[in-house]
Amino acid sequence: MMKSKIECRKIKKGIVSLLFLGVFVVAMALALQSCNQKAKAAVKDKPISDLSIYNLPSKWTNQNGQSIEMKDLKGKVLVMVMIYTSCKAACPRLVADMRNIEQRLPENIKDDVQLVLVSIAPEVDTPKRLKTFAVENKMDSNQWFFLRSTEENTREFAAVLAVNYKKIAPLEFSHSNIISVFNADGELVYQQEGLGVNSDPTIAKITEEAQKLN
């Protein structure tokens, strides 16, 4: 009896320590697994950062009538400007600045860059009109997006870009001349302010951000 009791205890101890060991192993395995999963997730589907424009829920329509959200552009370096197509003063020069930037980008990064023109006059700049404008200005390849949304979403987007604008006559707006560069995570990394300024730093920044992707 005594012997068997002692053995019983031993066995019990053994079982308990085995259990502990088992729990420990399982826990370790789980921890490792979750680490692995996290690492994979970080590469595949990195969470949207606090400062990213992908946090904006607004919906937009492009020049081809397709509906998009900002986060659909995730993974590309974005070069953005706000314009309106009936503008006769600064916008043609801003548009020229954008085209100039595009032309001077190194060939090997062009696929990683999206150039986006956002309309501040959504009621007149219909997708059809934006398309015509794109074709007229030879900006109709896949690299170019012309976007419009509601007045409210446009006002909010301008707020994010620190672009000011005001309607000063029926087809005339006063607006800031700012070209903004966003990295692939949607974070603002550079702004070129003014008209006809030297675009070298802008191009350098775009190139730097795009090369991080390769």
Partner: protein, 267 residues
């Protein structure tokens, strides 16, 4: 025992909060026209359609009630793109404005994004700058008191007073429309605050930099003597949507919907 006390306390706090957090009453603002300080190229009067305006700015207690419903806008959860680091920094914690802030003091240190979201969640919106200025030009008796010296003196004397943001709402004068605190308490966000074009150097002969802003040279102050309004425009012009400061709060407005009563009856 302690638990009971805690429960009782939070229950009372809850009641207190909900009492303070009642929706702000609104008044109807009749349609009209006014010539803004900075307006259109032709300097014609701007038409203001009929709308409704909150009688008071939004308070700490009301904002807390909003945060409890939308915790993603609480201090620790707020995304950096929507508000800078000083967002609600004078509060004690995420869901507590602390003893140093009155329930019925205007909430400040809120960004434009936060203010906009708050109003949307009440079924309202931020007033436009023109709507805000239109209401703000009224004194106790007149719709437009901008040429009255005493009125301008009152506003200017407020600009010199420190820390009025800590005062409760509703202690300044009730204007022609029945609206309080347009002057004398805090500065307020407007929906289109980012439609102003002033360069940092306002003493230059041209008050804007033509190279930075398209079409800017054509809009000038209609009334350079209106220094009080100029201060407001200059302040707005210096803001970015994610900025938060201690003396900047907000109130909400709403389109005036015809046939309000039948809609209420349906509910």
């Amino acid at each position: 025992m302690l638990q009971r006390k805690v429960v009782l306390f939070s229950f009372l706090l809850g009641i207190g909060t909900s009492l303070w957090a009642q929706q702000t009453p609104m008044v109807s603002i009749k349609r009209g026209t006014y010539v803004p300080l900075y307006g259109t190229t032709d300097r014609k009067p701007v038409a203001i359609a009929v709308f409704e305006m909150d009688v008071y700015p939004v308070t700490n207690a009301q904002y807390l009630a909003f945060l409890k419903k939308y915790p993603e806008y609480s201090r620790s959860k707020m995304k950096g793109i929507f508000a800078d680091k000083s967002y609600l920094s004078h509060w004690e914690s995420d869901f507590n404005y602390g003893k140093n802030n009155l329930d019925n003091a205007p909430v400040t240190n809120v960004s434009w994004f936060a203010a906009k979201k708050y109003c949307e969640c009440q079924g309202k919106r931020l007033p436009t700058m023109d709507e805000w200025e239109y209401v703000a030009m009224a004194d106790e008796k007149r719709i437009d008191a901008r040429t009255k010296e005493a009125f301008n003196r009152y506003i200017m004397s407020w600009y010199e007073k420190p820390k009025t943001f800590a005062n409760p709402i509703g202690q300044t004068f009730k204007n022609y429309w029945g609206v309080y605190d347009m002057h004398g308490l805090v500065w307020e966000w407007t929906a289109d605050f980012n439609s102003i074009f002033l360069s940092g150097e306002s003493r230059k002969d041209k008050d804007t930099d033509k190279n930075l802003f398209c079409g800017s040279g054509s809009v000038n102050a209609t009334d350079l003597m209106n220094y009080a309004a100029f201060m407001r425009y200059a302040f707005r012009g210096s803001l970015k949507a994610k900025y938060t400061t201690r003396n900047l709060g907000f109130r909400c407005a709403k389109d005036k919907v015809a046939l309000v009563k039948p809609i209420q009856n349906l509910r």
